[in-house]
């Protein structure tokens, strides 16, 4: 079956500026209700002049779980970062398919397992406590600068064994790297900026081999030494863990601040969930509702079909996680924030947070860590009886991928 493809009156989803006004949930809902998939023409960043948008939960899962039919090799975001398929980014884990992907992923996967991450609880709580102590000394502050950037940069620095005095560098470098995803140069700027952080991590890895520590850079450097990773894979994997570990947690925490400051119903539901000891469901619902990474991309390896839509070899399919997480087939009343949902457990093993961490081989390796950071922050805000309100206007950034908030002036009262 070949069905429709282009839609009128939909914002240009190839333009990052579109996302500055907000995530276009209404446009995604219209697309989701149509048969087949919608095609967005794009004069840059794809292999065939545009991309498909997968907005239903099951379609997104199908694409992400089938790396035979849908490869990551040319890039995992739109615009593609490795459009020739053999550029310098081909050794980044995000651009690898099985089995190379699994070999690289395993080098760090065990360090992110649930029983390992559970041991992080006490020191992450210290990080959160110190962050809130500092921020709440002021009555008014920028939540992004004082909280959303601070917690994940310190946590990922500790996990990777980056000295604490470099945490500002991590935050700044990561934000620049993510901005570069929108630069239309086939991944060149991205590669250059990632390479700069990579040089630093290579140097750090050499130091860790001399003085091994209980951290991820040591584990990765040992994998490099014993030949499980090559030097480029090491460098790019370390960079990826660093920037991915920072960015999405930072964006989620930014939105949590915004929602708590602006939405009394969300504030009330949050307090109730924490009083009833349902913090895991609360974290899942914040993640679903916010969905910090809006979408990813894959490229068809052959002529195929999704939802009855004919897809040609080399076509880009963008999988819109923000849309999948508002699919009423999976989450009834999808636009409502409700941590007490009766059946929030969709298939494919993604749990109550839905498609927020992706699916398939590339599903976020750090999902346990992300959930732990967010849970502890919510618990500590609740324990301190912090009440946030806006003290100016929130400001979004223009970004294809990240549901980005760049400014959030708040005032806070305690107790």
């Amino acid at each position: 079956m070949t069905v429709t493809t282009e839609l009128n009156d939909v914002p240009d989803l190839a333009d990052p500026e579109t996302f500055k006004a907000g995530v276009p949930y209404e446009a995604f809902a219209r697309m989701r209700a149509l048969p087949g998939l919608v095609w967005q023409p794009a004069d840059y960043g794809t292999l065939t002049g545009g991309f498909w948008l997968a907005t239903r939960y099951d379609d997104v899962a199908e694409v992400l779980q089938d790396s035979d039919r849908f490869t990551s090799r040319f890039g995992n975001v739109y615009p593609l970062l490795n459009p020739t398929g053999d550029g310098p980014m081909m050794k980044q884990i995000n651009h690898q398919d099985p089995p190379a992907h699994g070999r690289v992923r395993r080098a760090a996967a065990k360090s992110f397992g649930p029983r390992v991450v559970a041991n992080f609880e006490s020191w992450i709580r210290e990080v959160v406590d110190e962050t809130l102590d500092d921020a709440l000394r002021q009555e008014r502050f920028d939540w992004i600068l004082q909280v959303a950037r601070y917690i994940p940069s310190r946590v990922i620095a500790q996990v990777l064994g980056v000295p604490l005095d470099r945490r500002e560098y991590i935050a700044d470098a990561t934000i620049e790297i993510f901005k570069s995803l929108s630069v239309e140069d086939g991944g060149e700027t991205f590669g250059r900026l990632a390479g700069q952080v990579g040089e630093y991590l290579t140097q750090l890895g050499e130091e860790k081999l001399l003085n091994p520590a209980d951290d991820m850079t040591t584990v990765l450097a040992q994998s490099l030494q014993n030949g499980e990773l090559d030097p480029v894979e090491f460098q790019l994997y370390a960079v990826t863990l660093l920037i991915a570990g920072f960015e999405t947690s930072h964006t989620t925490i930014a939105h949590i601040g915004h929602l708590l400051a602006t939405d009394p119903a969300i504030r009330a539901a949050t307090a109730r969930a924490l009083d009833e000891g349902r913090s895991a469901e609360l974290v899942d619902e914040f993640l679903r509702y916010i969905t910090p990474a809006i979408r990813f991309a894959r490229v068809a390896t052959r002529d195929t079909e999704i939802a009855g839509q004919a897809i040609k070899k080399d076509d880009v399919v963008t999988v819109v996680l923000s849309a999948a997480n508002r699919d009423p087939e999976v989450f009834p009343r999808p636009d409502e924030f409700d941590p007490f949902r009766e059946s929030p457990k969709p298939a494919v093993g993604t749990g109550g947070a839905g498609m927020v961490f992706g699916a398939g081989p590339h599903r976020c390796v750090g999902h346990m860590l992300a959930k732990l950071e967010i849970r502890i922050l919510l618990e500590e805000l609740h324990a301190r009886k912090v009440v946030l309100s806006m003290d100016g206007e929130a400001e979004r950034g223009a970004h294809h991928v990240v549901n980005t908030l760049v400014k959030l002036p708040v005032s806070a009262t305690v107790g």
Binding site: P98, H101, R105, R106, A109, K110, G349, A359, R363
Partner: protein
């Protein structure tokens, strides 16, 4: 010789028997037959540790020993592994495993 092999999945009080073609992994035997508790998120890439099973002791020694990569990933399972733990994507169903009993961890 039959080209089919039987696998028995035990999940709490539930017991599910499935029959698959020889060569199929035990993970696919579960996911293709909608057996709950075997997630197989990565599709068999040995990347996710969501197809963890406890092999019935009676059957454990009849399997080849797990490789080093599998032993690494067993450290990332949701439930504490035991001496009988395996990732079911690494267990091929064969004539020798016909009737194998696999217990599914509760927290998975």
């Amino acid at each position: 010789m039959s080209d089919k092999s039987k696998v028995v999945f035990v999940n709490g009080a539930n017991r599910t028997e499935v029959e698959v073609l020889v060569g199929t992994s035990a993970m696919h035997a579960a996911t293709d037959n909608l057996v709950g508790g075997i997630i197989g998120e990565c599709g068999g890439d040995l990347s996710c540790a969501t197809c963890h099973v406890f092999v019935d002791p009676e059957w454990f020694d009849r399997l080849d020993a797990p490789g080093v990569d599998e032993r690494d990933m067993l450290e990332a399972t949701s439930e504490e592994p035991t001496e009988f733990s395996r990732l079911s994507c690494q267990i091929p169903c064969t004539a020798e495993t016909d009737g194998i009993v696999l217990h599914i961890p509760e927290s998975q």
